[in-house]
Amino acid sequence: MLTFILRRLLVAIPTILILIVISFVLMFAAPGGPFNAERPLPPDVMANIEARYGLDQPYAVQIFNYVKNIVLHFDFGPSFKYRDQTVSGLIAQGFPVTLTYGTWAFAVAVVFGVALGVVAAVRQNTWVDYLATGSAIGASVLPNFVLGPLLVLVFTLWLGWLPAGGWYGGQWQYVILPVAALATSYLAAIARIMRSSMLEVMNSGFIRTARAKGLPMRRIILRHALKPAILPVLSYLGPAFVAMITGSVVVDVFFSTGGIGQYFVNAALNRDYSVIMGVTILVGVLTIVFNLLVDILYAWIDPKIRY
């Protein structure tokens, strides 16, 4: 097991490097640059600015320096667009925000998604199932850029219970709507995976045996069916967790949370090269780590899996 983990971590290093190189190439292949503006800069001024950010160097040198600064100083450089900020500073400020609402959204999605899936499977083809499946499908076709305004309409404008935006250090009333907007579609996806996986398990031999032995239904579900049925959900949860804690551009932009989710889109549109690289590497590393964790969990839950 330990050698497996070590091996996976070693493979991660070249993976990240390849990620960096590909991102760099894609970034520079896009037309435009971070300092294009409505009023074009005089060539002298442009040269001064490019020199300051090292953009006058050959690409290979730029990549080398970039990686060197990360490895030696853990320095992701300054933001090109937000000149008062460093990339590390932006991430240090924005990541705790998305981590907060992402983790809550994850918890909500997993608890309610799994519960909904199990209930729907156990009561297959009853009104409970139809209701659960129906609302899951409804939730998954409702994108969060539609859900966000709907939530605000109901909870801010009609009921006046919750603020429509802002974060203010993560006070609870500012967290609820972002969590709801983010969790819904994941909840629906988890419910659907859970339901079909649960149905499959409930129809397998060992459950039939358990039922034949006269075990109570509650015990069969909790002790015997849940564990094998949750495996497909688990493999979905690794990447989903990373996606949730790195936030969503829609949630961040709509609710003005200040989270890092928005940088995935904004940084690319602004050609803010250093921020693009920073968030890409962050997601890359998180994805590798959580996929590894999921694999370890798998081995623990499913005795058939060996390394």
Partner: protein, 542 residues
């Protein structure tokens, strides 16, 4: 006993004082003031920087205007009023300005603001090492030596700005500029404190580090959420400042901005496109449309290698005539915009829009004339068919206009159009390189004088995207710089543009926004939208 009565007298005084506070009135207008003296304003995106030397955008400028104070400020109408400078004298040749600085001006750390702070700031803004995207502004002001300093050919200390003594600043220009005093209200010219910048380096603009000389100091900065400034106790006019705190909330989506405004989460936000008439009806007191010094136009590629049809001035004129501006401003935009037939915005200070022929025709006359011109050029229904591509940066509003204009051209002239949208950075490249036939464009004033618009079409202007090159036009603009009354020259220049038509002006911007009814003192008539929170206040409401 004596002790007690003193104590009672003191508490009575304190009571009176708080009573007076609760019923405080504005020193000038006498309006009853609210206890909550805060103001919140929506901005679109996290501001790139609060370093006056580096700022290049409106929102950063709006925050910096509260934090710093330049030589002059603007009043609610956009006229210059004393800032750090009380007044100035001008040498006879019009080249040397001597500003007398206010001795009581202080930085937020209590140090006096001196002429050297301006010298340092201006040199720093022009210095290539600062890498300021607005260093050209110092050159635009025609400060002696600016061009050489920006180009790295001369040391920053050769710049024509000098501290005669602590409270006298002398600026030398290379040519007289009548509107120079207007230009020193701009954020690039704000003073910055050398010791503060040297102490903190790039981090000097963070809350806690920044020392500023305006009515407010930076207290909070949460990227992509909000920036908050609070009263500067050391500001020379602090006694007359009413608002205690100003928040800039970052709300990217204008509809969400409106929702939050309705929910009472902020005081000012923009009116989303198309919603002006409805909101005006619902909130007549709180919806405002004010002129905004920007002009929306279509640039026509007139480079020699462009589409031959577009190089025919009759075709360009036909396209120009066939655009029904009244439909655009009244039915599509419907938020206080004005139809444009010329380039410079009518609200520009000291500028009168020349009456070009097209402006006085009816749309029917224009359409008839357009059809004649196109037929004359050998195109249109009876001639060669025409298809043009309009490019614009991805945005619903630009798309709506392009669709409408395409439709007008098709109906009136039988000209087909295709539309292509590009995201902003790509769009800028395409337009600059001339890979287009017709491109959407807009220009906003850098300073409140018509040359900020008309200079666009000079041959050496980098933003002259049509690549209009006319030595006569350039000569007019050159002459206008030193003219005692530039208006006749501007009129000629506008007429020249209306004749040669490298651009099709479409409309003059208006800024429409919602402002909470309790907020008073906003600079509605300042066409550059330069508002100063120190002049604003919140009144008590019943």
């Amino acid at each position: 006993m004596a002790v007690r009565s003193t104590f009672r007298a003191a508490s009575l005084l304190a009571l009176l004082a708080t009573g007076a506070m609760a019923q405080a009135t504005h020193p000038e207008t006498g309006d009853p003031l609210a206890e909550n003296q805060t103001f919140s304003w929506r901005i679109l995106d996290e501001v790139p920087t609060l370093d006056p030397g580096l700022i290049e955008d409106v929102d950063s400028g709006s925050i910096a205007r509260q934090l710093f104070e330049g030589l002059y400020n603007q009043d609610a109408q956009g006229n210059i009023v004393p800032g750090v400078a009380l007044d100035h004298t001008l040498s006879e040749d019009g080249l040397t300005y001597t500003f007398n600085l206010r001795p009581e001006a202080r930085w937020s750390n209590g140090e006096p603001v001196t002429a050297n702070d301006f010298v340092y700031a201006w040199r720093r803004a022009a210095d290539p090492a600062t890498a300021s995207p607005y260093s050209w502004y110092i050159d635009l002001m025609k400060v002696a030596g600016a061009a050489e300093v920006v180009a790295g050919e001369a040391a920053p200390d050769t710049l024509g700005v000098r501290a005669v003594d602590d409270h006298t600043l002398e600026v030398t220009l290379t040519q007289p500029i009548p509107y120079f005093p207007q230009m020193v209200t701009h954020y690039t010219t704000y003073p910055v404190l050398q010791s503060n910048i040297e102490e903190h380096g790039d981090a000097w603009t963070q809350p806690g580090n920044m020392v500023s000389n305006g009515a407010y100091v930076l207290s909070e900065r949460v990227p992509q959420e909000r920036t908050v400034v609070t009263r500067n106790e050391n500001y020379w006019d602090n006694a007359n400042t009413v608002l205690n705190e100003v928040s800039f909330l970052i709300i990217n989506d204008e509809n969400q901005g409106l929702t939050r405004w309705i929910a009472g989460e902020l005081d000012a936000t923009d009116v989303p496109i198309g919603q002006f008439p409805r909101l005006k009806e619902e909130y007549p007191e709180e919806v405002h449309a004010v002129p905004n010094l920007c002009t929306y136009y279509y640039a026509i590629n007139v480079r020699p290698d462009s589409d031959p049809a577009l190089l025919d001035v009759r075709v360009r004129e036909a396209l120009n005539l066939a655009i029904d501006r009244d439909v655009i401003v009244n039915s599509i935009l419907a938020a206080g915009q004005l139809p444009a037939y010329t380039l410079a915005h009518p609200a520009t200070a000291g500028y009168e829009v020349p009456e070009v022929p097209i402006a006085t025709m009816t749309q029917e006359e224009r359409n008839t004339r357009a059809q004649e011109l196109l037929a004359e050029a050998g195109f249109g229904p009876e001639g060669e068919p025409l298809t043009f591509e309009i490019i614009y940066n991805t945005d619903q509003a630009h798309q709506q206009l392009a669709v409408a204009i395409g439709q007008m051209w098709k109906q009136t002239l039988g000209v087909e159009t295709t539309l292509a949208n590009q995201e902003w950075q790509t769009f800028l490249d395409t337009r600059r390189e001339g890979n287009f036939q017709i491109a959407r464009a807009a220009w906003c004033a850098d300073y409140n004088e018509a040359s900020t618009f008309l200079d666009l079409m000079t041959a050496d202007n980098e933003s002259n995207d049509p690549r209009y090159e006319n030595p006569e036009y350039d000569a007019l603009m050159e002459e206008s710089r030193t003219a005692a009354d530039p208006q006749p020259l501007y009129t000629q220049a506008e007429e020249m543009l209306a004749r040669d038509m490298p651009i099709l002006p479409i409309y003059f911007y208006a800024k429409d926004f919602m402002l909470d009814a309790s907020i008073k003192g906003y600079a509605f008539e300042n066409a550059q939208e330069n508002w100063y929170a120190k002049d604003m206040y919140r009144i008590a409401q019943e």
